[in-house]
């Protein structure tokens, strides 16, 4: 049984400690496993143990997490281990993985996750700065906050409460890595993943395809027996209690162009695909409805809300924009978001009324009524008059940075320009490559910029952190926004466990941001995925990637379709 998937971009590497691109994470998540995972079927999203025996024991002061690790978990066979002797997973492998991310010579993109969180880890990072190279680092050096009383117990001690720790421990960046593998492969570890997961790498033909095969050393896991209401009717519980993975091989072909991916899907050579923009009318016959031609092929449509928000940001340290709230609000009112979504996304996306995406538990439905995303050119013109009074005369032309030079960005730029020109605001679009864009944003040398973010956990903290004043650029707060009231609430919520009170604080912070308007929020992405009838257990998930183990192919149906 082979799963045929498509990746729309090449992957950068398969080293879990240093990957942030979504395509690498998708592939690596089938090979590596962290301590926790999100339940495949249950909603709202819920963490369950994966390599951990159970959920952690948390001390009363919320500073110490004791985690028991499953026994009898083995790394896949690999030449880096002693021949014929399976290498069992130990608690020390988790410690090594975290220390590795902390090692500054390793240049991990994931360090911000642990920055100033675990006792002694920042000191370990300081120590690595004194080493000449990666090979000189002594990983046996003690980190006070990462201890292993025995081979199957991991104790993490925190500097201050970090309620998102379990979510971090479900991130592939914290997946255990065998030190023997890193020592054996050196810098080539990026193409020699050695994990504990259900699949192992068979072939990686860079830029072309990746093939994983079933890992014979995998301990075996059972398909969930419970889901949310409606799952049984949808067939998601047909395989309840069966041993996973079902597939013997997983094949990802890298196809960057839409036409070949679409044609392969229609030929039945690919199991699932997104709908190409140009084929949207061929596929969709109405709201949430497939065309009869698609139905005749037994193709199914799945839509799900992506935890993402996109915006037009303002540099609050800009002398004109930063001191002129009516001007920022005028710009926000001048953007016709509905038209934007119709033109660029076939009406698929949702208008962003605030910064927290609707899929998050802290999303407040009342935000829609506040009217911060309302398109109102007349109000915008009124606000602009007020803005000119504050400025003391006619407003100058503004510059807006867009992180791309291709047709899509030029069309997007034209759209924004036309919207702003309509309220007599001059704006010059600057199309640039991504590094130049990042440099300009990080050095605060741009007035307006377009950007977006997608959450990796169901906690909206990452979105709110983008407005915390201690994280100004080059940190996550690219708006260089500062509001002491927001900061106070952020610091309070940051150390709280998930609760209605915490969610209330999140929504309060969101309202403060919307009122100050350091950004005009534009849209939230909604994914539309098509899959063939034979592709079973395809339930979309916003935060989990290691899902190939649940997929099953009805071989008879696949063969019938091809014939």
């Amino acid at each position: 049984m082979v799963l045929h998937h498509v990746l729309s971009s090449r992957i950068e590497g398969l080293d879990p400690g240093n990957m942030r691109d979504i395509y690498s994470i998708i592939v690596a998540s089938q090979i590596f496993e962290p301590l926790y995972q999100y339940h495949f079927l249950k909603r709202p999203y819920q963490l369950v143990p994966l390599l951990a025996e159970d959920m952690p024991q948390i001390s009363d002061d919320l500073l110490t997490y004791t985690i028991k690790i499953k026994k009898g978990v083995y790394f896949q066979d690999d030449p880096c281990f002693q021949v014929g002797k399976p290498r069992e997973l130990k608690a020390e492998d988790f410690v090594y993985a975290i220390k590795r991310v902390a090692n500054i010579k390793y240049l991990s993109q994931n360090w911000s996750m642990f920055d100033n969180k675990i006792v002694g880890l920042d000191e370990f990072r300081e120590y690595t700065k004194t080493c000449k190279s990666e090979v000189d680092i002594d990983y046996s050096r003690q980190v006070q906050g990462l201890t292993t009383p025995d081979d199957y117990t991991l104790v993490i001690r925190l500097k201050k409460p970090w309620p998102q720790l379990c979510m971090a421990l479900a991130d592939i960046a914290t997946a255990p890595v065998a030190k023997e593998a890193v020592d054996y492969y050196g810098r080539d570890i990026v193409s020699h993943p050695v994990g504990t997961g259900p699949f192992r790498l068979n072939v990686w033909h860079r830029g072309s395809y990746i093939e994983l095969v079933r890992n014979p050393a995998f301990r075996g896991e059972l398909y969930p027996s419970r889901g949310e209401p409606g799952d049984a009717e949808a067939g998601y519980l047909d395989d309840a209690g069966k041993t996973i993975p079902f597939a013997d091989r997983v094949l990802w072909t890298i196809i960057e162009e839409r036409q070949p991916a679409w044609l392969l899907f229609l030929q039945g050579k690919v199991d699932a695909t997104v709908i190409p923009k140009d084929n949207f009318d061929e596929v969709m016959g109405g709201v949430g409805e497939l065309t009869p031609a698609m139905k005749q092929r037994n193709i199914h449509l799945k839509t799900f809300r992506d935890p993402s928000t996109y915006w037009l940001g303002f540099n609050m340290q800009d002398p004109v924009l930063g001191k002129n709230k009516p001007l920022r609000r005028a710009i926000s009112c001048a953007i016709d978001r509905e038209k934007f979504i119709e033109l660029f996304f076939n009406n698929r996306h949702l208008i962003a009324h605030g910064l927290i995406p609707p899929v998050m538990p802290s999303y407040g439905t009342e935000i829609k009524e506040k009217g911060y995303a309302q398109y109102d050119p007349e109000k915008a013109k009124e606000l602009l008059k007020e803005a000119e009074k504050i400025h003391g005369g006619k407003l100058p032309a503004f510059k807006m940075a867009l992180p791309g030079t291709n047709t899509w960005y030029r069309q997007f730029g034209q759209f924004l320009k036309r919207n702003l020109n309509a309220i007599a605001l001059e704006v010059e679009m600057e199309y640039m490559d991504r590094p130049t864009y990042l440099e300009k944003v990080n050095t605060k040398s741009i007035q307006m910029f377009t950007s977006g973010s997608s959450a990796s956990t169901p906690d909206a903290q990452d979105f709110l952190a983008m407005f915390y004043s201690r994280y100004h650029a080059p940190g996550p707060n690219k708006f260089n926004y500062c509001n002491p009231e927001f900061d106070k609430l952020y610091e309070k919520a940051q150390v709280m466990l998930d609760s209605p009170e915490k969610r209330r604080l999140y929504r309060k912070m969101e309202l403060i941001v919307l009122e100050d308007c350091p950004a005009a929020f534009l849209n939230h992405r909604v994914a539309y995925v098509l899959h063939h009838d034979w592709y079973k257990n395809y339930k979309p998930h916003a935060f989990a990637y290691g899902l190939s183990k649940y997929r099953r192919i009805d071989m008879a149906k696949r063969t019938a379709y091809k014939n």
Binding site: Y209, Q259, L266, Y471
Partner: protein, 312 residues
């Protein structure tokens, strides 16, 4: 001729230096700082600084024995291209891409040249007839249709609708199977411009006095065309054909992308998109050397086909 070849090889030095300087200036002075992008979202300044040190971006640009440019120059001369941004050695990427690229471009190249030159000879002979007009119309049409249209049309009809070829690369396919359609498309798209050029060259020759003399002496059409006209038309043919050879190495970006051929054209564009300076620099350098070498080969070929040209 030896002196000429040595002189031409010496000319290579400033050319290669110029290429290295240009790529360096374009990607370090004009483009942005790649370290911020490599560091990723939410990276601290110290991580960015460490990346700058790792990639040598904190060194002076010029005017030092350990400057970025001197290191760039030294690495290029020793063919030590380092590691790409995904940490794979650049040379491994190039070695892997050469095969698929050449499997695509070499048959395309020979197909286009052989068909264009043969047809141009025939067309030159039937010049002014309805066949000639028809070929000119087809050539102009072929030149006017965008390359992408050939690809989309070929992929949709020949592969998807009629099932004559695979739509896209698949590991189960042999190289011959997955390059067949792109080669066919490449030949169809390339033939228009080449045929029109060679037709003009042949017609110029056909109007020469020696052709009339040859026919007056009673030589056969085949002998006139293939022994005299073709030989005299070789100079422009060599110029066009030999100078196209270095570009075979660069592969074909669109065809590789649409048919999933993991060649060097694809690699180059990926590198440009991700600003992988190390790959771009290596590819540009190798291309420059190949271009200089094939320029020299072109000159040598001139003297071989035309004894009036001497390489002094």
């Amino acid at each position: 001729m030896t002196a000429y070849i040595i002189r031409r090889i010496l000319y290579t030095v400033p050319i290669v230096f110029g290429v290295l300087l240009l790529t360096f200036v374009l990607f370090t002075l004009v483009g942005g700082d790649i370290s911020i992008e490599i560091a990723g979202k939410g990276a601290t300044q110290e991580t960015i600084d460490e990346i700058r040190e790792e990639y040598g971006l904190n060194k002076p640009l010029f005017l030092s024995w350990d400057s970025q440019f001197v290191n760039h120059f030294k690495n290029a001369l020793t063919f030590n291209f380092g590691r790409a941004r995904d940490r794979e050695p650049v040379i491994d990427k190039i070695k892997r891409g050469v095969g698929p690229s050449l499997a695509l471009t070499v048959p395309m190249f020979f197909g286009v040249v052989i068909i264009s030159v043969s047809l141009s000879l025939i067309i030159a002979f039937v010049h002014g007839t309805v066949w000639d007009i028809l070929v000119v119309v087809i050539c102009v049409a072929g030149m006017s249709i965008p390359y992408l249209s050939f690809i989309l049309f070929g992929q949709y009809f020949l592969a998807y609708r009629w099932g004559l070829f695979p739509v896209f690369f698949s590991p189960e396919l042999t190289m011959a199977q997955y390059v067949a359609l792109p080669v066919l498309i490449g030949i169809a798209a390339g033939i228009g411009g080449n045929l029109r050029f060679f037709r003009t060259v042949m017609l110029d020759e056909m109007r020469s006095d020696y052709v009339r003399t040859a026919f007056a002496k009673g030589l056969t059409v085949r002998r006139v065309l293939f022994k005299h006209v073709l030989k005299n038309a070789m100079i422009p043919i060599i110029t066009r054909v030999v100078l196209a050879i270095p570009f075979l190495f660069l592969g074909s970006l669109l065809l590789e992308r649409f048919f999933g051929i993991p060649g060097l054209g694809y690699l180059m564009v990926e590198a440009i998109n991700s600003r992988d300076y190390f790959v771009i620099s290596a590819m540009t350098y190798i291309s420059a050397i190949l271009f200089v070498v094939f320029n020299l080969i072109t000159d040598i070929c001139y003297s071989l086909v035309d004894p009036r040209i001497s390489l002094e």
